[in-house]
């Protein structure tokens, strides 16, 4: 088991590279599989010193629930944006909002920022991890406190549970 992290420092990325190679390869031949294994093992090994410590996936099931919810929210978000864009513009109330976040891990914080960018009416602009603030631009703010609470409840709390932090 001590050999495992030395030879395969990033098992998820190894699997990702192998999967992607097999999907993109024109045929699923033995040669391509061999090449996928070689690339999947060598690329994470060569770049190992650049990877930050990945957080531990504590609850994969909650992760799947969150993933489904985010996919649903992306569709709702696009519908919402579509309505706002086609409708009258003078009713829009765009604003910058500071959302206080309690996530220290850079990877999880990036994940949260990406989810916020893809979901209803918000794009993340800046993360200040030292101060614990995620600066968000919202297209139409009806109730600022409610919006902050929604981001924290729908995405931050499940993310913290998934990665156990």
């Amino acid at each position: 088991m001590t050999l495992f992290p030395r030879v395969l420092p990033q098992p998820t990325i190894t699997l990702g590279i192998m999967g992607l190679w097999m999907v993109l390869a024109p045929s699923a031949s033995l040669g391509n599989l061999l090449l996928a294994v070689i690339l999947g093992v060598s690329i994470p090994w060569i770049t190992r010193s650049f990877w930050p410590d990945r957080p531990y996936l504590a609850r994969p099931l909650t992760g799947i629930v969150l993933f489904v919810r985010v996919v649903g929210d992306i569709i709702v978000a696009s519908w919402e944006v579509a309505r706002l864009v086609v409708g009258p513009l003078d009713r829009l109330k765009p604003a910058f909002i500071d959302v206080p976040i309690e996530i220290d891990d850079p990877f999880v914080a990036t994940l949260l920022a990406s989810i916020v960018s893809l979901t209803p009416g918000t794009v993340s602009v800046d993360i200040d991890r030292a101060a614990g603030i995620l600066n968000v631009h919202a297209l139409n703010v009806a109730d600022e406190a409610e919006m902050i609470a929604a981001i924290k409840r729908r995405y931050e709390a499940p993310l913290k549970r998934v990665f156990g932090c």
Binding site: L20, V23, L24, I74, I75, A77, S78, V81, A82, V85, V86, L89, L92, P94, F96, A113, S114, I115, S117, L118, G121, V123, S124, V125, D126, H137, L139
Partner: protein, 101 residues
């Protein structure tokens, strides 16, 4: 036949969302509101056109082809990243402009 209807629906919905995203880009008043259209609507629109293509090639060959899924996934991973960088760049250029007399 059903496959054809599903593909057509996905293509039409996708093209509509792509168009709406671009309308937002052309119509909204300032940069940060413009950022919303392309990051969400256009990404979803093009994603669904790509998935339509996936179903089409899967139905044509009789097998499952996941190659198009790679494009969709790539678009959904990169859209927030470029939106974030664009927002940062816009904040910086705005700060530079207001710093000048």
């Amino acid at each position: 036949m059903i496959v054809d209807i599903v593909i057509s629906l996905l293509i039409l919905v996708g093209a509509t969302f792509a168009l709406v995203g671009s309308i937002g880009l052309a119509r909204l008043p300032d940069f940060f509101t413009r950022l919303h259209g392309p990051t969400k609507a256009t990404t979803l629109g093009v994603g669904s056109v790509v998935i339509a293509s996936l179903i089409h090639s899967g139905a044509a060959t009789g097998g499952v082809s996941l190659r198009e899924l790679a494009i969709s996934l790539f678009l959904f991973i990169t859209a927030p990243v470029s939106a974030h960088l664009l927002a940062k760049a816009a904040l910086k250029t705005r700060a530079n402009r207001s710093a000048k007399p």
